[in-house]
């Protein structure tokens, strides 16, 4: 098979697929008329195309949500807790430093507690009603 045959076969495939052909139809037909190998290859390609087009994918009945939900929830929680731990460490370092940050340091502590509420999505200091 030479380069012309290959170009013609690709162009014929594109045309059969309903796509713009890289070669004019007249060029494809002129070549195919004089080339038995291309005629056969293009014909066999159409048969294969027809067989594949009649196939259907099996769509398995699955429910992946429970596993995915567990993973995204733990990922999200994990990230927030990591951020909180980093914040708490930073606070401790600031507290140990000789620099007097005054009210600023207290604000950092308040920010950590507020962030804890956000992560837990509840006030951890509220006593349950049944106690």
């Amino acid at each position: 098979m030479n380069e012309t045959c290959k170009a013609v076969r690709i162009a014929a495939m594109a045309r059969d697929d309903g796509e713009p052909s890289p070669l004019p139809v007249t060029d494809i037909e002129a070549h195919v008329q004089g080339c038995a190998a291309c005629r056969e290859a293009i014909g066999a390609g159409r048969v294969l195309h027809g067989r594949l087009a009649s196939a259907h994918r099996r769509m398995p009945a699955v429910s992946l949500w429970p596993a995915i939900e567990q993973r995204v929830t733990s990922d999200r929680g994990g990230r927030w807790w990591a951020a909180l731990v980093a914040l708490a460490l930073a606070y401790k370092l600031l507290e140990l430093s000789p620099i007097d940050l005054g009210i600023g340091l207290k604000l950092v502590a308040v920010a950590i507690v507020v962030a804890g509420f956000v992560v837990l999505r509840a006030n951890p200091f509220v006593m349950p009603a049944e106690i």
Binding site: I10, A44, L48, R51, A53, S54, A55, W65
Partner: protein, 177 residues
Amino acid sequence: MDDATYVRRFQAGEHAAFRGLVENHQRPALAHALAIVTDVDDARDAVQDAFIDAYAALPRFDPTRRFYPWFYVLLRNRCFKLLAKRKRHAAVALPQLLSLPGSPDDARALHGALMALSAEERELVLLKHVDGLSYAELAERLEIPAGTVMSRLYHARSKLRARLDAGFEPVLKEEKP
């Protein structure tokens, strides 16, 4: 509810809306992954990992785009990563992959020829001929130019036909018009 609504709700902070996207697409995603990795458990892992990737990337997703073609890129990345790590050979059984009309021998022949293709070739052939994607859609999903889609498809189909001709010539010959 459509994907765009789920995406917008997710981006507005309602993370539970992600469930809708999973439920809308888990079945085709599993079918697509199975055609690449050819193992049910691996396909399930790849789909789950791809949804986790999507969850992380969804805040930056352009909601005017279609969700599944974007998700498919994540999915195939996961599938090919998994294939690169996997040492063992796996070949999914035909009834789990495709429903093929015709005689069982014909179906077996085509299934065998598809399994003999590389994962990339099988993916391309099935997306084109079974799912009916255009070259432009294939180019988007596979992140390659449309011209490359055309030449890769030509080579994959030639290989598939050669496999069928070599092992199962009578089947194709009988079907010629």
